[in-house]
């Protein structure tokens, strides 16, 4: 089973994510580009979702057709869902639902945060929201494959 780690060095926090049944090919492309570093952001209207808006896939461009991938509305996804938005070529967005949200747009689900890390994920989400809305601290996120 394919697994990867999301780590926020400034927060000294990390979660492990595992593959799901849907869109395994899309996850393969993402993981094949790891390690990846990006700036961590937050969704601003749809609810409690971590959102990395500029995730670059420099090694292996994303060539899968959007029509070939299944989608899921974030409001219906379980907490801990990792999804892609607009994956194409050398860029994608990566979102992680960490609590309730009302977002009914379609995203491409690719992984799930393992249950024992959900509390950590929520903590990261709250801190990132605090940054986005008040403190403006910059948090980087690192994606690395886990054996």
């Amino acid at each position: 089973m394919k697994r990867f780690k999301m780590r926020w060095p400034a927060l000294k926090l990390e979660v492990i994510c595992e593959e799901i049944q849907e869109n395994k090919q899309a996850l393969d492309v993402l993981v094949s580009n790891m390690p990846i570093k990006a700036i961590q952001g937050h969704e601003m209207v749809g609810g409690w979702i971590l959102r990395a808006r500029a995730v670059h896939m420099q090694k292996h461009p994303f060539e899968l057709s959007a029509d070939a991938l299944s989608s899921e509305k974030m409001k219906d996804a379980p907490v801990g869902r990792v999804a892609l938005l607009f994956p194409q070529g050398s860029s994608t967005e990566v979102l992680v639902k960490y609590d309730e949200c009302v977002d009914d747009r379609d995203y491409i689900p690719v992984a799930q945060v393992e249950p024992e890390y959900l509390d950590t994920l929520k903590k990261v989400g709250r801190l990132q929201w605090q940054s986005a809305s008040r403190t403006k601290e910059i948090y980087h996120v690192e994606f690395t494959e886990v054996e």
Binding site: K37, M44, A52, F86, R134, K136
Partner: protein
């Protein structure tokens, strides 16, 4: 005039430099409130409208790049049509973004504009993919520095709020 390979390499270099460190244009405009192009200055010398309109316009250019690339992949559009779409959809917001101080993205577009008509489809796609990568960095940093906390001053009103207001108004 640069070749498409030179332009792509230059954009890619800028993308690498601004993935973990801020885009300087964004720092100038969104963190330090400097209006390099003069936008907002005639309107009470404020920067808020520059943020609001400039940030949103440039945000969408990344999406236009995505859609033009998708249309190019479908193979139903000629190179002439794809160039026309690129000019229609990207030039205006990129130029406006430049006025709002997001200058480098417009400089990249202008260079693409000069060479676009002589490119093959896959070459245009390659440059647009790079440009999209740089634009996503701009967007990520705009979101980082935009003072979203001002939203706390404008809380959503609900029915109970107006019903209370109606009760209070009876005393006027």
């Amino acid at each position: 005039m640069k070749t498409w390979q030179e332009l792509k390499a230059e954009i890619d270099r800028e993308t690498i430099l601004t993935t973990l460190e801020p885009v300087q244009d964004v720092v100038d405009v969104f963190r330090y409130s400097i209006s390099k192009g003069g936008a907002g200055v005639p309107n009470d010398k404020q920067i808020f409208t520059t943020w609001f309109f400039g940030g949103a316009d440039v945000n969408y250019i990344a999406d236009w790049c995505y859609f033009i690339i998708e249309l190019a992949k479908k193979g139903t559009y000629s190179m002439e049509q794809l160039c026309q779409m690129t000019r229609f959809w990207i030039k205006q917001p990129a130029e406006f973004g430049n006025y709002c101080g997001l200058c480098k993205q417009y400089a990249f577009f202008q260079e693409l504009d000069q060479i676009m008509d002589g490119l093959k489809k896959e070459e245009l796609v390659a440059v647009l993919d790079s440009l999209r990568g740089y634009l996503t960095n701009i967007n990520a940093w705009v979101y980082q520095y935009m003072p979203w906390g001002v939203g706390r001053a404008f809380h959503r009103k609900d029915r109970a709020y107006y019903e209370t207001g109606m009760q209070l108004a009876k005393g006027i």
